[in-house]
Amino acid sequence: MPAIFPRWTNNVPIVIGLLAPLVGAGLIFAVWYWFSPYYTDVGYRPEQPVPYSHKLHAGEMGIDCRYCHNTVEKAAHAAIPPTGTCMNCHELVKADSPRLALVRESHAADMPVPWVRVHQLPDYAFFNHSPHLAAGVGCVSCHGRVDQMAVVEMKQPLSMGWCLDCHRDPKPNLRPLDQVTNMNWDPAETPYDPDRDANRKRKVNPPTHCSGCHR
């Protein structure tokens, strides 16, 4: 009677033993690398309906972030400005530019410009801009050098691990309270210790418990 399994099957356990860790490691790496927001989110730069350039407005002309995103210090949501804010200047400047046609239409029709959202947190994370600004976290820490972006893109993963990195050790990301919107402020140039800042009323103590963000 012949053997049920041919002789080469004796090697199967060895081959499996060799390949299994390889495949396992590959899987772990693949999830760690490709499923991470560092890969899925960072670098997202959607094409916007109006080719608005932060590089020109915030960079070259130095308009403060809060001129347009004026709710950021008081509200959870940093408002996308209403078209009226664009028209503050563009009724007078480049009033006939075809690139601004959509802005003029939006203003005339009292309908918002359909901007594409770039930074989007999951709905179960309750992020609030105002305490971050009150604590002296600069815009640049999370949004990157927006003043150098002709097209806004995501620079940070906005993942939970990334948030917690700062919540556990906020000091490196704190700056003087009046420098929050200053994209050029450089901690290497002006060493800053939040503990010795007389303008700070209380110590920055960000929550690291679940309900700090997931309410």
Binding site: L18, F29, Y39, M61, H77
Partner: protein, 227 residues
């Protein structure tokens, strides 16, 4: 069995795999894309609720944030204080003082300076000469922003500046939607400070250095002159 006999190979395998995959995908993180982020595990990333400025198909215009119906006033938003909200006295003339609910002090002027620099300085300039970076760089205004030191403006009341900041003037659009009401008063106070500092003399500085409303303006002269 194989677990013990292949120990060296087992140890090397993950490293080899890692090296291979890293070589194949090097530089992929953070690469630019116009496609929306793919999240395989959606969980409850997008929930059926109206967040600020989101789209909502329930309403014909798609806006989740609703405007109040015409002719209605939300509770607490009546704005019946003519001095505070419209800068006017009871007889309808423009008031030349801060509303009674606000106090002229260093804090207010600092606030006014900061807000002025955000909302006004782009066009009117840090010092109010009508030569802000946007005026100089912004592709040419068809009407020049006003020089706040011109003779016509100097005798105007404080309420006038509040009124213009609120409702605009000529080609300047009003800022009442963009700047909260107290901040507009603070800005008006700062505009007055800029004007006073522009013509101030050394003799205007009081001998004492006690911070009082009358001392606030000359104290800021240094700032105005340095700019």
């Amino acid at each position: 069995m194989t677990l013990t006999s292949n120990r060296p190979a087992r140890a090397a395998a993950p490293l080899l795999a890692l090296a291979a995959v890293m070589a194949a995908t090097g530089g992929c993180r953070g690469s630019r894309s116009e496609d929306p982020p793919v999240h395989l595990q959606q969980n409850m990333d997008f929930q059926e609720r109206g967040d600020a400025q989101e789209y909502n198909g329930f309403f014909a215009d798609g806006r989740v944030m609703r405007k109040p119906p015409q002719g209605t006033v939300a509770v607490g938003f009546l704005k019946d204080d003519d001095h505070l909200y419209r800068g006017r006295n009871l007889d309808g003339t423009l008031a030349d003082a801060l509303p009674p609910s606000m106090k002229l002090d260093e804090k207010l002027l600092n606030r006014g300076e900061a807000r002025y620099n955000i909302y006004c300085a782009p066009c009117h300039g840090d010092t109010g000469h009508g030569d802000g970076p946007v005026t100089r760089r912004g592709g040419g205004f068809s009407v020049q922003p006003a020089n706040l030191h011109m003779a016509r403006l100097l005798p105007e009341s404080l309420g006038y500046y509040f009124h213009v900041a609120t409702n605009g003037k000529g080609k300047m659009r009003g800022y009442k939607a963009q700047i909260p009401v107290e901040d507009r008063w603070a800005i008006a106070a700062w505009v007055r400070t800029l004007q006073v500092s522009h013509t101030a003399k050394a003799s205007d500085i009081p001998a004492g250095n006690a911070p009082s409303p009358s001392a606030a303006a000359p104290t800021d002269t240094k700032k105005g002159a340095a700019q």
